[in-house]
């Protein structure tokens, strides 16, 4: 049996003839000039790339592939101190407590009328379910909201056309965690006790602030990926799912039994109406909502306690199931909003569904069955057509500005270009190797910018100088300007890139914040000038309200701190100059170091555990006298009578007791 499958696979590979040539460079002679961005010039696109298991997002330039920044999102960051400083610890708080590391798979860039607006990037935490919002003015994570009743937040954080909602679908169905449900059940009661949830998280139009508006309780499926409708399908959201078998063990085998799983078509506009008219049930849950306040440079972290749950079994016109072959992964909507592409990981074809036909079938109640009380539409009735023999292991599809689709194929390591209307395969190129997601600039939007397709590969084997057992993961840039795709560049990536989006630089770069204005700094421990610097004691807490500016700290000599004290270094960077952060580190720091942006205040906690004089210094090469930017703190034994004093330069300031 096993051999037969292998034979069949081999036969397929041979017929398709798409197996990439191992280790061969197929870039053409003038490729270099097409990706060369001369020193001192800018790239054309920002590429916002997920870090996967690193929990972060990274920003690259396209076409150069240059890495500009890694943005800490769901993982504590040893560059900035994100998640270590007192101000940012709260951003990683959840109902489970402090979660310092998660797994970020998908960025989603905000859109207005389906077109990139350059305001925010959203990202999903796959493990402890959350959605983060990154402000594209500061490239900082400014908000994280946790999702109750959820596990494995994979089909997330895809957004509606005007960023009305960002969504979160459960990859791992599980017993719900609202009060009154019994989470302590045997795993083999999956079918009766496990549920799936799809959360709609509203995004406030001006501020971007998120709120879990409502959840749909669905059968215990594994929702995988999702896309909002657009244009005619604006009111709809489409989610792929696998495991319609409802397996709870050895899913590799047991969730691959049926010929078809589903794409879930959700009428979110209808659901929104029901939510507003009180058709749902308010459930008592606990989930964290963390918001970073740029004015106080602090996190406001709260635990929210209620969520509205809608039941599509009762609200009949909210959810329909579309049969889709073999464990669909990608579920992508073309720029017109008319066609929905399902990519079955194990399918030998790609079905394309028609939104018009879906509407007609719903109107005519053209259902083939019910699945757990949810109507299943007839496959043939809603099908626009199938792309035949496209390749092996289709995963994801992006679109260009010319009516073409680009689908990634993991097993056959290639990108296949096909026409959405005619469903004809137009071109195929190998990737090196085992592509996952792919990205056309603006590819998921109503207005693709086109020009390139970027492959994000899982395996690089012989493509780069080896670095031991773990190799870099990679992206590959192809031109799609001609009829044939053309490989231009390989570039290494940090973490594991899953999905990525690319946005024209001019929609983002002009909004970039250069400094935080010191007069607008409302941090409770800010030293808005050197005269405000001080050290004071509250019981065993010693607060060092410190300023930093090229090239000294105030104060830089501190005495009178004792064993048993907790020292809080609140450092304000007084610089009002672009690209001049200061850093802070103290010897024996058991927590972290930190970076402080111009005009910002950040705090590191230090519990000294031995007597002595400890140097502290600036860790960011800020100036010609950076090496001079240092100070000392004296730690005396517990019970010592040394008065608390602090000073800088020849002016000694008296203790403020």
């Amino acid at each position: 049996m096993k051999n037969l499958i292998i034979l069949l696979l081999l036969a397929l590979v041979t017929t398709i003839g798409c197996k990439p040539k191992s280790g061969v460079s197929v870039a053409t002679g003038d490729a270099a000039s097409k990706v060369y961005v001369a020193p001192g010039t800018y790239d054309e696109f920002y590429n916002v790339v997920s870090g996967g298991f690193s929990g972060q997002m990274a920003i690259y330039g396209i076409p150069s592939g240059r890495l500009f920044r890694e943005i800490p999102v769901f993982s504590a960051d040893p560059e900035t101190g994100w998640g270590y400083t007192e101000e940012t610890k709260g951003m990683l708080m959840t109902s489970h407590g402090f979660v310092p590391w998660d797994d970020l798979h998908h960025p989603a860039l905000s859109t207005t009328k389906g077109i990139h607006d350059g305001r925010w990037a959203f990202g999903n935490a796959n493990n402890t379910p959350r959605i983060a919002r990154i402000d594209m003015k500061t490239f900082k994570t400014v908000e994280i909201i946790e999702l109750p009743n959820s596990s494995g937040n994979h089909s997330s954080p895809f957004i509606t056309e005007n960023t009305e909602y960002t969504v979160a679908g459960t990859r791992f169905s599980s017993p719900p965690d609202y009060q009154g449900s019994n989470p302590d059940v045997s795993i083999n009661t999956y079918k009766e006790n496990f549920k799936g949830y799809i959360s709609f998280v509203s995004v406030e139009k001006e501020s971007g602030k998120m709120d879990v508006a409502f959840q749909l309780q669905i059968p215990p499926l594994n929702t995988d990926l999702a896309r909002a409708g657009k244009g005619p399908s604006h009111d709809w959201f489409f989610f792929s799912c696998y495991n319609s078998e409802q397996a709870f063990t050895l899913l590799e085998v047991n969730a691959s039994q049926k010929d078809k799983d589903f794409i879930l078509a959700v009428n979110w506009k209808k659901a929104e109406e029901y939510a507003k008219s009180g058709k749902g049930e308010m459930k008592n849950v606990k989930y964290a909502h963390n918001y970073y306040d740029e004015s106080t440079h602090n996190t406001i972290s709260e635990i929210k306690e209620q969520v509205l749950v809608l039941d599509p079994k009762e609200l009949k016109d909210v959810l329909y199931l579309i049969p889709c072959p073999k464990s669909p992964h990608g579920c992508d909507v073309d720029p017109t909003g008319q066609f929905i592409v399902g990519s079955g990981k194990l399918a030998a074809l790609i079905p394309v569904f028609s939104f018009d036909k879906i509407q007609k079938a719903i109107a005519a109640k053209d259902f083939e069955a019910e699945y757990d009380g949810i109507p299943v539409l007839k496959y043939e009735s809603v099908l626009h057509g199938e792309v035949q023999k496209p390749g092996l292991g289709p995963l994801h599809t992006e679109f260009d500005d010319k009516g073409n689709a680009y689908t990634s194929f993991f097993v056959s390591s290639e990108i296949v270009k096909w026409n959405v209307q005619s469903l004809q395969v137009l071109d195929r190129v190998p990737t090196y190797y085992s592509i996952g997601h792919l990205c056309v600039p603006g590819g998921p939007t109503a207005k693709p910018w086109g020009k390139y397709v970027i492959a994000y590969n899982k395996i690089t084997k012989d493509r780069y100088l080896p670095t031991g057992p773990e190799l870099t993961q990679s992206a590959q840039l192809y031109s799609i300007e001609g009829d044939k795709m053309e490989l231009l560049l390989d570039f290494p990536t940090t973490g594991e890139p899953h999905y990525a989006e690319a946005i024209p630089a001019d929609l983002v770069q002009g909004n970039s914040v250069k400094i935080f204005k010191i007069e607008e700094n409302n941090h409770p421990y800010a030293a808005k000038g050197e005269k405000e610097a001080k050290v004071f004691r509250e019981g065993n807490k010693v607060h060092v309200v410190m300023s930093s500016i090229r090239s000294h700290f105030v104060p830089d000599n501190i005495e009178g701190v004792k064993i048993g004290d907790e020292v809080y270094f609140h450092v304000t960077n007084l610089e009002q100059d672009w690209d001049v952060p200061h850093g802070f580190a103290v010897k024996g720091a058991d927590n972290a170091e930190m970076l402080i942006m111009p005009g910002e205040t950040a705090t590191i906690k230090w519990v000294p555990n031995r007597v002595g004089v400890f140097p502290f210094y600036c860790t960011d090469f800020c100036s010609a006298l950076h090496q001079e930017m240092q100070g000392y703190i004296r730690i005396s034994p517990a019970g010592s009578n040394i008065p608390l004093t602090f000073s800088t330069g020849k002016v000694a300031v008296e203790s403020t007791k």
Partner: protein, 203 residues
């Protein structure tokens, strides 16, 4: 400054000029070579055609949000046009747009007017750039020397390797024989506006 004889200044400056003619010639040729290399290195890549290459130094960074640096403050001051012209001629505009930090003693136009016109004109010639650079370097210290951290009689090492002497009498601050008539904080340091040109002591 005022008590110094103009002839002495002129002779002194001339000697500096002579000493440095060869050096400046070399410098000028090098700069010319470098800049001609630079200009042939025009950017390519249609992808970036809409964005002009930054061929200048840090002074060319477009930033109207940050606090002004010492160069931008001098450029914006009607009292410092001579100084700015000299900085440009010395090709030091880029250097003191750097992160620094710098303490700049900035002579006013009136201070420069005390230098004989002929001498100034000579210093502004390309072949005398090194002499001009030496004088300007004698007006810049790396580090921020705030008045509250200075002591009377303290010496401060300047960028050209020689020292100035600080005179502090109550609130009145002098550097060598020049009076500090204003103090202006900048993003990358501090400007002391002075009423005299500081002359590097003869070595």
């Amino acid at each position: 400054m005022s008590q110094l004889n103009n002839n002495i200044i002129t002779n002194y400056l001339n000697s500096l000029v002579m000493k440095n003619v060869l050096y400046s010639l070399i410098c000028v040729s090098l700069v010319w070579l470098a800049s001609s290399c630079g200009s042939s290195e025009t950017k390519s890549g249609e992808a970036t055609a809409e964005t002009a290459a930054n061929t200048g130094g840090q002074e060319a960074v477009i930033d109207d949000v940050s606090q002004k640096d010492v160069v931008k403050i001098a450029v914006g001051s009607a009292d410092h046009t001579t100084l700015v012209a000299a900085l440009k001629q010395a090709q030091y505009v880029d250097d003191i747009s750097n992160a620094g930090p710098f303490t700049v003693f900035a002579p006013t136009n009136d201070a420069f007017a005390k230098v004989p016109k002929e001498t100034l004109d000579d210093l502004m010639k390309d072949e005398n750039r090194a002499a001009l650079q030496n004088i300007l370097e004698y007006h810049v210290a790396v580090g921020v020397y705030r008045q509250e951290y200075l002591n009377d009689g303290q010496t401060v090492g300047m960028a050209n390797g020689q020292n100035v002497t600080i005179h502090l009498n109550g609130d009145k601050l002098m550097v060598n024989e020049a009076n500090v008539i204003a103090t202006i904080p900048a993003s990358n340091g501090l400007i002391y506006v002075v009423d005299g040109v500081l002359l590097p002591p003869a070595k």
